[in-house]
Symmetry: C2
Subunit: 478 residues, 2 copies
């Protein structure tokens, strides 16, 4: 086990330096590495396989609700980006500009899409004419570019991967329903597939998306108590439709503007997985999206029959899980550490004695619990254990979030908590942006969201003491 220990020592511990721990896990688990291009990352095979599982899961949830995928250009002409005033103000400072094609200067600059509302609107103006054309429920999987000053793999990169849904509806009600429906899809996905509990709520006007009337968000809490915005869903009203002259003939034969939504989840969610479930031994992956759910490690594999049995198990068990067999000549200790680092949910050990007894040992990644399982029962036992890992991860994350969520009713309280205790703070708010700005200034926290599940923790705003309108969850955020 000497080399096992050695490898584990190579990661900084969370307590020592959380940011360095994060970077170490990204690199040592081979999720991503830095590219030569500033602020961009190379998503390596293991990270890409994880993203593909996330994508396929989300994609089937979208399609089950009638959404269709499309592929729009990566370039937006400058004049098109400028069509909606708030939107261009929000995004123009952080876009990459293409000015030349080959040797020739362009007559109009093109930006690399930071998001595609404008392109979708231009297309919708072409294809929406009648209420019969509505709703339009489009989504696209692509990468977008935002010219960030400081970057970290998955959390904030110049180029990142995401899906962006863009929908058009007959009525404001339909669009509001879609906005909420898709937020719920994200929340369900986080809980059911990623084992990440989230707080659902609405963003304050200060924090909402450029051009949106309302932005909904799911916020997850990381190991260090910071919040990570994990998915957003926006209601646009008919603002873009007016700017882009998108009209349809309604059921009363009147011309109307449709109502619009957009919603997105990105590779950031991989950062959330790392910082929700990871530990000092590396990554811990939720089974539903883990590229490998079960790794088979033959013990004393030079002994007669061990490798044959391990291969037989691999073939058999591939029907119930994503299985990898590591029959390399690396030591057992090295392999234990390697697959702990990579966060594989279950490890199956099989050696000569096990074979004699028609059994094997299965070790859970999340709590290192060992179970001796009869080889005859693997097909039922493995799915059970995968479910147990999922539930264990979810409960642990939920308990941590609850234990690190505080309530403050006075400004002094709130500042004290913000200074001393990592986590989220529930506190009332009057609705005035001045108070948001002040809390940022004096306590270093921002409003994460106005949760759908409201509580009345006080009657007055925690900042100014005026009558409170709503409870806000505040915190530091990625």
């Amino acid at each position: 086990m000497a080399d096992n220990k050695k490898m584990v020592e190579e990661i900084t511990s969370m307590e020592q330096d959380f940011a360095q721990w994060y970077t170490d896990v990204v690199k040592k688990a081979e999720l991503a590495s830095y590219a030569g291009v500033r602020g961009c990352m190379i998503v390596r095979p293991y990270g890409t396989a994880l993203w593909e599982n996330i994508r396929n899961d989300l994609d089937s949830r979208f399609k089950a609700l009638g959404h269709e995928n499309v592929m729009l250009p990566m370039f937006i002409p400058e004049s098109l980006l400028q069509r909606e005033k708030d939107h261009v103000e929000g995004f123009a400072p952080e876009v990459a500009w293409v000015t030349h094609g080959g040797d020739e200067p362009l007559t109009e600059r093109l930006c690399v899409r930071p998001t595609s509302e404008t392109l979708f609107c231009e297309h919708y103006a072409d294809v929406i004419h009648s209420y019969r054309d509505l709703p339009k429920l489009y989504n696209q999987w692509c990468s977008v570019v935002r010219w960030e000053k400081t970057t970290r793999p998955f959390l904030r990169t110049m180029e990142f991967y995401w899906q962006e849904g863009h929908t058009m509806h007959e009525t404001a009600e339909d669009a509001m329903e879609e906005t909420e429906r898709m937020l719920n899809v994200y929340a369900d996905f986080c809980e059911e597939s990623l084992a990440i509990p989230v707080v659902k709520g609405r963003k304050t006007d200060k924090e909402k998306f450029a051009g949106a009337e309302a932005t909904y968000t799911i916020e997850a809490m990381m190991h260090d108590g910071k919040a990570l915005q994990s998915g957003t869903s926006h209601y646009f009203g008919d603002g873009f439709c007016r700017a882009f002259d998108i009209k349809f003939t309604d059921r009363q034969n009147q011309l109307q503007y449709p109502h619009q939504t957009s919603w997105g989840m990105s590779t950031r969610i991989i950062g959330a997985i790392i910082m929700t479930h990871g530990d000092d031994n590396g990554l811990v992956l939720p089974p539903a999206v883990a590229p490998v759910q079960l790794v088979i490690l033959p013990i004393a594999q030079h002994k007669a029959g061990v490798l044959e049995k391990a291969r037989e198990l691999k073939d058999r068990l591939s029907a119930v899980a994503r299985v990898k067999l590591d029959d390399s000549d690396n030591s057992a200790g090295w392999k234990f550490a390697e697959y702990e680092m990579k966060g594989v949910p279950l490890r199956l050990e099989i050696g000569p004695r096990d074979i004699e007894n028609n059994q094997c040992v299965i070790v859970r990644r999340d709590n290192r619990e060992k179970t001796v399982v009869s080889l005859d029962e693997l097909e039922t036992k493995i799915p059970e254990l995968l479910k147990a890992v999922h539930d264990g991860l979810y409960q642990k994350a939920l308990a941590r979030r609850e234990s690190m969520t505080y309530t403050a009713t006075t400004l002094d309280d709130l500042c004290a908590i913000a200074n001393e205790k990592p986590g989220l703070i529930k506190a009332m708010w009057c609705g005035d942006e001045a108070c948001e700005l002040k809390l940022k200034e004096v306590a270093g926290i921002t409003s994460r969201c106005m949760p759908f599940e409201q509580e009345t923790v006080a009657d007055t705003c925690v900042c100014c003491g005026k009558p409170a309108k709503t409870m806000v969850v505040w915190g530091k955020a990625y």
Copy 2:
């Protein structure tokens, strides 16, 4: 059937104007539409679903051979693109340059990737150290940009979608094997999934990829007799590895340069599908990749029991095919024309009389053959009919290609054929680029490939009369 006829009349016939027919099909079948950005296309839901089926099919063929997906940045710093001399000469004139991030000019221009050899090499220099790290079998799905002057949807667009495989191997032999293996994967995919017969061969030096030692290609023949390069696979030797200083310690503990390949297939292949199988009624899709394989059309759907039965069939048959039920209030004639336009392989008609007789009518898109099928036999009959459509399409395309492939032994012959008969021409070549240039000049044709299946159609070069080295397939090309 009046409205059926009307709709069909909206497409230009192939004979009248093949290029216009192509554009009409792309638009009316709702595969793609033009974007506001010059030279870019919007791939609409139907086109995207088709591309997703192509992608998933190819992706599983790649993964079965051990390839792993990665995601590399879309930007290449100018200095990186310049690292390999032939490569930069080939691509620099047709790339899009990013010069500004937000308001600030960049210290070094970035091009939007036209292809990613340079990025992969930079990464491989980081991760390849020993023969144990080889082979590296990476692939990525992404879009690339080439600044084209004239564009047509799918065939030539500024931005297009593709996969690019990039692999590194211990020996030249391993890399050559990979180059050929992946060309065969493309050829098998075209024949097995797209029902498109292809000619496999090697490109002449004049036609090979910028920076490659050898380029292999599959060439398909379109309805108008022109060739379409449908997939390419390149052998690079160790040229890029030397330029990027990628070295590994071999089994004898010596430092060596690995040997490299790359291979790609793009959304162009959708153009090949359209122009191989389409007809004057619109698109004809090969069943393996068709977004909808069977459309159910209820006849006299206002009559009692018809819609119920149609819905029941949809649920039942979704287990054996990708099924759509059109229960809209459009006329039967409109629906017939619509799904012919969209190239749905099978149409199932069910009306009151059919229900009485416990049967339905299935019509093939490719030859309009009608079959009366008992409702009890649908689960076996539909897969059979889908296979029959596939085989029918393949045989028809193969017969057309054979009937439109000519042999020329003299320059006069070759010019006469090139002038009068659309199609491909087999003729011998001495290996001299001057002869290639001359044939371009006098006959307007280029070398498509030197087929693996060689024939000796003459002893001397069709152009200069010197001793022939190889048989080339010549033609006009997209």
